[in-house]
Structures are given as C-alpha cells and as structure tokens.
Symmetry: C2
Subunit: 679 residues, 2 copies
C-alpha cells in the first residue's frame, strides 16, 4: 500500500475506521473537514525529493528508528536498559518484573511511534509497521479499563497514587506524547487503534481535570498535553479536547497555586525537587501575564506552542498577545545565532536577556525542535516572515546539529563553542560534551529529531484565508488542497546549498489566489523572481516578509526564485557580552563554525578581519555541501611566559568553516561559531 495517497480517499478510509470504534468512552467523534483544514493543520502530503532531506529521512528510517527500537527492547549492548516496553508488559499483566526507568519512560515509546508514523510515509516498511501495530496492541492491553495509561503508577506507585503529583510525575506529559503519536499514526496509516487508546485516555483525563466540582483544578508540571489535545481536537473535532487544553493553559500560574495545594494535600515538601521555583515550569504567574520566557526551555516551547494554537482556534487576542510577547523575549533577547535556546544548564533553562554563553549553554536539541513546533504555530496564527526565518534557522542549525550525519551519535546539549581539554575538565562545563554520544538515559532528543525530520514536510506550507504561504524551501513535491482544488506544488532546488528555487504549480483546475513566498531574512530583502520565465513586474507585493503574487494559477505555471546565498559575517548586539568584538559566518540559511580538525587547536587565538570568503564544494560528509575558506590570523606568543609585557603578534593563515549542524562528525576537538574580529 502506497503512503503517497490522495488525501480525500485516505480521510474517508479513516472515517470508516472511526465508525468501527465502539469501545471508547466518548459521546461523539467528529472528523476533520478535510477541505477546510488540509494544508493547515493535518499531516501534509509533502514528499522530500532532494538529497538533503532525503538523506536525513533515510537516516531516520534506516538508523535512528531501528536503533531506538532496540533500545526500547533492551537489546543494546553497553547501554543502560530502557525497559520501556517491559514496563507496558508488566502493566498488561504479561510480565512479572519491577518497574524500571524514569517517571516519563513511557514517552520514549510514544515518541518512537510518532516517528515511525512519519517515517512510514516516506519509507514504507511492513515489518516496522507490524512491530508498531503489535506494540500498539500492547498499549491497549496495558491501558486501565477507565482509560488511564501510565506504567509508572500502574506498576510501581499503584493506581491509588495517580494524580497526586502532576507537578513532577509526568502523567499528563506522557499522555500528550501518546496523543501525538496516535494522531500521527492515524493520519499516516489510517489505523485507528492507537487513536482510540489516546481518546480513551483523553476522555478519562477530561473527566478528572476541569472546572467542575470534584474535578482537579491542576495542570501539568511539564507541558505537552496542551498542544497534543489541540492536535486531537483537530483530527476529531471534539470540542472537549480543545476545552481541556484551554483549561490547562488558563489554570497555569493562578493563585492559589495548584502545585502548592497539591503539596499540602498530599503532605509533600512544598519546595519539591525544583526548589519551589515555579518559573521552571512557566507557572509562576498566569500565562497571559508572562512577558519574559523563563524556566525549562523545552517545557516553555511546548506551552508556547499550545498558547499559539489556542490563540488562533479560540480566537483569543489575550493569548495572541501573550504568544507575541513571549516570542519577542525568546527571539530578540534569548536566542542563540543557531536557533538554540536555554542558555542555562541549571534547570535546562532560559537565562537572563542577552545572557548567551557560547561554551556553557545548554541549548537542548529538544528545545530547538520545540521552537520549530512553536514557530510553525505562530505562522498559523499570523503569517510573518520572521516566524518562518526562525523556523528555518532552528531546523537547520539548532536541530540537525543534535545528530551526526549517519544518525548514529547524538548531542543532547549543543554549545556554540567547545574549547580545549582544560575547559572540558571544568565542573561548570560538565554538561557540554565534546563528542557525540550513542544514546542517553534520558532519551528524549533522538526520537524528537526523528519526529521533526520525518514530518519536515508539514512545516513547508501554511494556508491562511485565500493565501497560500511557502515557508520553507527544499526539493519536494506536495499535493495539497487550496481554494477547493487539489494542487501539486513542486520545488526544484539545491536548497540549503543554493538559493535558486524553481517552483511549479499544478492545480487540478486553474485556481485564483495569493501565493506567498517567504523572502528569507538572511537575503536582506534581495531576491530575483520570474514567473513563467518573465519578470514579474508589478504583479508582486512584499508584505510581512513574504512576496505575494495574486493570479489565476494554471497547471504548469512556474515561479523561479533566486535568493543570494553569498557567505557573510554576522554580528551580535553588544548587549551579548560573550560576542562583542566577534563575528560569525552564515551562508544562506546556514550558520557556520570552525573546527579543530580544519584549523588546529586553541581556536581562541584566531582573529578574522575584513576578508573575502571563498566558497568550496565538499561532498565528503554530505552531497553538495559548501564549506568556507577565509584568511585569518593566529595570535602567537614571544615566549612561554604566562604573562608578559610583550604583546603577542599575529600570523596569517587560511581558515576553513563548515556548516554548524555538521560539526562533530570528524572526531573530537575544539569548535567555535563566534571568532574574534580584528578590530
């Protein structure tokens, strides 16, 4: 069965599947109005055809997903067992063992299932689908009859203890990942078993939490279920899911604080493991009052994603304002050049505004991926080029860096600078690993990478009213609904290595409407466009970072775009004290870095003045990759003295920079994104 199917037929088959559902505790289940929402919210039929994303989707299908499956089944040598699947077996009464793992161990399996769902679209794999179906069946057997499913409480603490610590114990977080997996698996395969399990759990949660007498007025310590419930609402049109997501967001940070009440009720230490700092979980004040992004960065991204969702779906201007304020805080005050966020290892959290340390930052891979989730939703809330710019930045530079080229080694933490050995010995650097790892005990990042790579097509286009927005560029074919027509969108491009995009529109019938192409921020407003080979004089309008063309689009219409990708230096605001007097280099959407393997050690001695940059093709690691060559200088000592009145001198040499996301593929060593300027 081909995954590349007509959406309409496909969704009808899902409808039939839903009709068969009879064992879930829900009053009604509406299916999405496909015409209205396709291209906006559901999984999109966007197929990657160029080598860049194909490579990464291959790697996910052939390496990450099988490897993680082994991890989930405790089949990896030299690695701590995951025990995730065993925990479900125990919960199902099919295995007599003790619970093992983190309190959120279940989510490892859910995220794997979600990644599998996306991967099956581009890489059909009957054995993998069979494995997934079997494990889904296990989830059904493990699920409590009331719908509850969280093996930590089912196996270890006892069901009577559930919901006694929503602050720390991740029941709602795991439920969110179950729901996301269910929606994705349902959209991808048309199979509804997992969706039924998720709905049953969501219905149960909806009965436990809420504003009514006897319901818990709480919210999760780790956000995730909010955005998941929105996805569930969008696929089922069940308003209760939207309302429950809204309830969780509205309750967050209200006084009296639910986490305090919960502690009191269950006699727990009020301080909790996170020192009573509610900024950590973005629950220090009500969401609408939050203006500064604080606390655990991944949690923040998941919350802000839901805030953007709800602002749009509930048409709530107060939530829109909150989302915009928080966006400003993150993007204009707390963002690393590569779309990394979370400058503080302590709490895996945001630091103060402009506090962006290159070498001790946390920049969790999951946080950058979370920023992509959020940016996608901000685009849906309001189409603005800035949202897509950040989306592009965080996908290429902040997320892919978390995995090596082969998909076999990972970074959890993504510094912009790794110094020599003595700095690796520093205690305050111990979270910064100079070498990619096989796996992590807290295995959140690799499956998150698999999720975003597998579903990257979902980030390419949005539709708002009559306008169809092209946010990301990449060699691909999409089949989407637009203004009542099925339209094929074809991009031919070497992006991100080249800024030329040949765009072909093939509507089933001619279609009238705005087609909006993002003008990347890095292009600084410069672009070249032709429509069907002719200059589009007068036809186009530039608005909000998009080039908008209104016309009657015929089958075979071609738009040729050219954005200048010439490599250039970029500078941080001087408020970022780490980077004053430094320069980084970008080319097109990519941020570059200098590695020891190319440039020798002690990269701190390198200075770069105004220099021409030579662009060099190098396919050693990735096809068509472009490296940069620059003339720089290295500071040299006159003697071995630790301190000297004699000023060190500069010696010229040729430097090589490679795309940041490709670093750490050629052995251990120093790395720097920001280098000193010769001022």
């Amino acid at each position: 069965m081909s995954r590349w199917r007509n959406n309409r037929t496909y969704l009808l088959s899902i409808e039939n599947a839903f009709l068969k559902m009879n064992n879930i505790n829900r009053s009604s289940l509406f299916l999405i109005n496909t015409k209205q929402r396709i291209g906006e919210w559901t999984m999109q039929n966007v197929k990657m055809t160029g080598s860049f994303w194909q490579h990464y989707q291959d790697v996910v299908a052939n390496s990450v997903i099988p490897y993680q499956w082994k991890a989930l089944n405790d089949e990896l040598p030299d690695t701590e067992p995951s025990h995730a699947i065993k925990n479900f077996r125990i919960a199902a009464g099919e295995l007599d063992e003790e619970y093992y793992g983190m309190v959120f161990q279940d989510s490892d399996l859910y995220k794997w299932l979600e990644a599998v769902a996306y991967s099956l679209q581009s890489h059909p794999n009957p054995q993998l689908e069979k494995d997934a179906d079997e494990v889904i069946s296990l989830l059904g057997r493990a699920q409590n009859k009331d719908g509850y499913l969280h093996t930590y409480y089912q196996v270890k603490e006892g069901l009577e203890q559930r919901w006694t610590n929503v602050r720390d114990n991740h029941e709602l977080y795991c439920a969110g990942h179950l729901i996301e997996a269910a929606v994705a698996y349902y959209e991808s395969t048309g199979k509804s078993e997992l969706l039924q399990i998720a709905c049953k759990f969501a219905d149960y949660i909806d009965s436990v939490f809420g504003p009514e007498e006897g319901q818990i007025k709480g919210f999760p310590g780790h956000e995730e279920i909010e955005l998941a419930l929105v996805r569930l609402y969008l696929v089922t049109k069940e308003n209760r899911y939207l309302n429950l997501a809204t309830f969780f967001v509205n309750e967050r940070g209200r006084q009296p604080h639910y986490f305090d009440l919960e502690c009191k009720q269950f006699g727990r230490d009020q301080q909790g493991w996170w020192h009573g700092n509610y900024e950590y979980s973005q629950s220090h004040i009500p969401v609408r009052e939050q203006k500064e992004a604080v606390g655990h960065a991944v949690r923040a991204m998941y919350l802000y994603s839901a805030v953007a969702d709800l602002a749009e779906l509930n048409n709530d201007p107060t939530l829109k304002e909150a989302a915009e304020n928080l966006w400003h805080s993150v993007v204009h005050e707390k963002l690393f050049i590569n779309g990394g966020i979370g400058a503080s290892a302590w709490g895996e959290a945001f630091a103060g505004a402009f506090d962006l340390p290159n070498d001790t930052t946390y920049n969790e891979t999951c946080a950058s991926i979370g920023l992509a989730f959020w940016a996608k939703r901000m685009l849906q809330l309001e189409p603005k080029g800035e949202y897509a710019d950040i989306l592009e930045n965080t996908v290429y530079n902040g997320s892919l860096c978390g995995m090596d080229i082969k998909g076999e080694r990972f970074f959890y933490v993504n510094p912009l600078e790794v110094n020599g050995e003595s700095s690796c010995r520093r205690r305050d650097h111990k979270h910064v690993l100079p070498e990619r790892q096989k796996w992590f005990n807290c295995a959140c990042c690799p499956p998150n990478l698999a999720r975003i790579i597998g579903s990257i097509g979902d980030y390419f286009y949005t539709q708002k009213g009559e306008t169809f927005y092209v946010n990301l560029y990449g060699d691909s074919i999409a089949k989407l609904y637009w203004n009542g027509q099925e339209v094929e969108f074809v991009q031919h491009t070497m992006y991100p290595w080249d800024g030329a995009i040949a765009f072909t529109i093939n509507p089933s019938n001619s279609v009238q409407g705005n087609l909006a192409f993002r003008i990347p921020g890095w292009a600084e407003g410069e672009f070249n466009i032709t429509i069907n080979g002719e200059n589009a004089a007068g036809e186009e309008v530039v608005s909000n970072g998009y080039l908008i063309i209104n016309r009657n689009w015929e089958k075979g219409d071609q738009v040729s775009l050219l954005f200048p990708t010439k490599a250039k230096g970029i500078y941080a605001n001087t408020k970022v004290e780490e980077n004053t007097g430094k320069v980084a280099f970008t080319r097109g959407p990519l941020v570059y870095c200098f590695e020891e393997v190319d440039n020798g050690n002690n990269l701190s001695t390198i200075f770069i003045g105004d220099t021409s940059i030579k662009e060099v093709k190098n396919s050693n690691l990735l096809n068509d990759a472009v490296y940069l060559q620059l003339t720089g200088s290295r500071l040299q000592d006159h003697s071995d003295d630790l301190y000297s009145f004699k000023k060190p001198y500069l010696e010229e040499f040729t430097l090589t920079a490679i795309p940041y996301f490709m670093w750490g593929n050629r052995g251990k060593g120093e790395m720097k994104v920001w280098v000193k300027q010769q001022i």
Copy 2:
C-alpha cells in the same frame, strides 16, 4: 610595656617564661638560638611607618579585630552566631548548651588570637590583650587533661569519636591554627600560657600519630598543622615537632591510603563528601611525586608551605624538587595575573593548566594569602627574585582585594571580572558576589587578612648565610640581627605608589656582608641605584633577580633605588584562552582594573589599542593612590537587533583604571581586569 623592643632582651624574657612551665607533657623545650635564626623565621621587628601599610594595620586593629571579637561572642546583629567562644565554654564545663557551628569553628578563635598577636605589636591595646588573655585562659580550662582540644568532639561527638575522621573533621587543622596563634602570641607578648596549651596538644598529637606500633599512620584532610609544627619547632627547638610535621608530609598520599583505611575501620562511606577525589586534599599520590598543583587551593598552599619548610630544615633535596615542581605548576600555569589561585569553584580548587576564567574563578582570599605564606618559605629555601615577585603580587593584588578600604566588608571569592546583572543570575556564577559582604558563615578569610596584614613586616627580609635579602619594599623601620650585629634598616618610600626607595642601614657596629635588593620583575631589569649619593659602579652584582652589594656597611649608609613604575600593558600567554586578544594594565607592583562607576556599564564592549597612559593622583579612597587614564573605544550597535549583518562601530572615550585591590569600594557594578585589545 612597649611592643617595640629589643629582640635579645625580649627573647631572654621568653626563655624565663619557659622555665616556669612545668605542667606540660614534654621531655624538653629548647629555645631558639636567637642569633642564628632571627631575621629568618621568628617574628621580625619590622614596623610600618608609611601610610599604606599603616592604614591597613590601623584598619585591622580598629575594625577587623573588634568586629571579629563581636562575631566570636555572637554580638553581631543580622549575622548568624559564631558560637565559637560558647563552644569552648561548653567544653570547659562552664555553659550547658549544644555545640553549634562548623567542625572547624575553633579555628576562628585561633586565627583571631594570632591576628591579635600581630596587631598588638603595632597597636598596643591593654583591653584587647586582656580579652585575649582571658580567652586563652578559657582555652586552658577547655583543654582535656591529655592535651586534646577540639570542641566539636569534646562537646558534640564525644571524645571516644576523636581521630575517627581526620579526613574531614579538621581536628589537626584546628590544632595547627592553635599552634600558630600560640607561637605568634608568645613572640609578640612574651606570654607563654597559650604556647603551653599548644605544646600540650602537640605532644598529645605526637603520641597519637606516628610510625610506631599502635600509632595512627594518618594525616590531616586539611593541611595546616604541618607548617604550624614547623613554627612550633622553630620557637621551641623541639625536634619531635619537626619530625611529626615530616611524618605527616611523608605519609600523605601513600598506599594503602589512610583515608580508605579510616573509612573501612569506622564503617564510613568510602567516597566521603568529596567524592573520593583525593586530589582535593593533595593526597592522591605521595607528595614527592606531585608535579601538578591540584585540589583545594588553600589546602595546597598550606601543604606546599610545609614542604618548603621541611625541604630546608631537613635539608631534603627530594622535597625541594617537589616544592619547585609545584611552584612551577602554580606560578607558570595556574596563576591569575593578580596572584589569585583556585580557578574552580567546584572544590575551591585548581583547574587545569592555563584554565583561568576571569568571571567564574574562585580565587579565595585565603588561597592568595596562602601563596604568600608559601612564597615566603620558598625565599627562605632559596633566594630567588621570582618568589618575592609572586609574594608581592599576591599580597598587594590577590590578598588586599579581599577587604574594603575600611576593613568592614569582605570578598571570599575574587573574580577578575564581574559582568552585568544577567551574568549574576547565572547559576555557575553564584559564588561570585558583585558586592562585598559583612561577614561569612565560613569566616576564614577576614581573620586570615588580619593575620597577613598584621605580620606583613615578617615578609620584608630574609637572611641566607651571609647575605641579607630585601624582598619587599615599603616605608618601614626594622631592627634585626645580621652577621652578629643588631642593624636598623630604614626604608623611606611611597611604595607601592612610587618606585623610589631610600634605604638607610644603621648597624650598631660596621658590618661586612652582602645586601641583596630585589629587582622587581615588573621593572624588567631596569633600575637606578646610588650608594651614599654616588653611582655604585662595579660594586653590584645582579643574581637571581637580586641586586647584591657587598661592602662594609657603616651606620648611616644610604642606598637609593629607583624602579620605573610607568604604567604599561601586560598580556597573557595565548594558552590562556580567556585572555587572548586582551590586555591588562599594571603600574609598579599593582594590577589595575576598570569599574563601571568610572567607565559605564557593559565593559565587554570596551577596546583599547596602543594608547598613552596618563597617571593621575587620587586620594579619595587611599592617600597618594594613582589611577590611570587611557583612551579607549566602545563598540556601538547600529540597531536593537539581536543579530545583524551590519558590523558594530567604535566610538572613542576616556577610560579610568584603578588598582584592582581597591575595587568594590564605590558601590555595586561591573569590573574587568582584562579588556579587549584593538588588534
């Protein structure tokens, strides 16, 4: 009774005092051969006459000592009680309360007594001496009849528990401070009561620890007693003290490791609170095998001081080599420009070679003071200008910075850079306070400052064979024995503000010998000298950083020295990655820094090229202080954008630098020693 007395008479009075001792468990007690050792090891009659050191000795006498006395007596409002004196009262059976405080709380009182001893020399104070005598009498009453004195075990754990955790529980450390206080108080006042208490404790320790059957083959987790026992040996000539110090140093780091054996014997966790890392206490390998300075910096300094002592007194070339190797490691690889040491807050410890972070360093005040202790002993082991250079550096720049000008506020940690607010919010910066504190719960630094300031005269001169070395310069009068003569040495100078020193030698009778004047490293070999107003052509030899003049010195002979103090830039080796491309400024022995109060905030934006430096007198904080004015530039943004392709530009302005040790006297704000160079 004047503290300014003839040494010979004074020591005879001490001899008489010793003869009266009859209640201590010692077989013999020899007094120092005054002629042989005076000017080398005992407290020297060096009186500060110029305003610089007089100011600091006044501050210690009038502020630090009375304030600390109140602290010891729990009379300070808004401060956690010390309870130190109460603990002794409880031990003496005169108070019925619980023990309170650190396990080394006793040492606070001992260090205060030692500081009092020094201060009484320059600032006679009958009431203070009475208070000290009374508290000494309390110590006698608190002392166990076998000589043991450590209130933590006497009051809290029970005597049967003593010596069960010499790794962590500081009994030997406190004993060391008791001994140092006793030696100082005895030398200063001629009173022997405290010395008797110390000897009684030392004798008891000597019976418990040692190589014989049934004796503990252990050594202290926190070194201190080793150097103290040497001091006790030097004042009593009792070889057992020297041998016990030697025993402790020799046992350190041997396998099987005593800390392991102790853990096993007393059923304690092998790992201990310091994670089983024996580098922390410099006991990872035997002392003679140690080549790299590691672990807790204060502990290291106290150990290395004893190593230098024992290398000389035991004439042990293997220990001399160890001392020299460790000196090289500290001074050529791990030293901050200001004589600060201990780059790692984790463990208050040395970091790797050349790992010298300006803003997160620990640089405990006590560690720099400890480096002065060690440098003094290295000078005694072998006269080398470098030892005196480091001594001078660490005293002026690394120690005095720990206290404000008024002696009322202190720094425990001494960064070379304090950045803006967001950096203060960083978890990895939480040990770095941007503002001086009134007191610390772990109150080691203020009394240590009082000790070194009070005894600064002891660091001015050393004698080795027939040569008399002048190590430190400062307005002072000394009365010392040299080659059989009592000689008055008079320095008239504005040092450290000026490099001109008028040196007058007044021997009781003419004396033949080498007088060696240190040529400061910062003078880069340049100096001007006249003897009795005439150029000393040919008479002088430069050796090991000293200018040596051999002649028959007559009363009133004058040596005029002039070292150029012109302010200049200094550069770190490029291996110090924190400082590549940066410059610091020095003038004479002083390191300078830039404060926000003079230069505005965001000091990271400041660049300094090759510029002339204007020296400006400013007596607002300290008489005759010299500030520097330089032309620099400040990097300015074109916009508020977090990142921009537009390069920031430079704007010239006038910068002011003040001596580093004077920073933090004018409110809270940023500070930087190293600023960026315009390269």
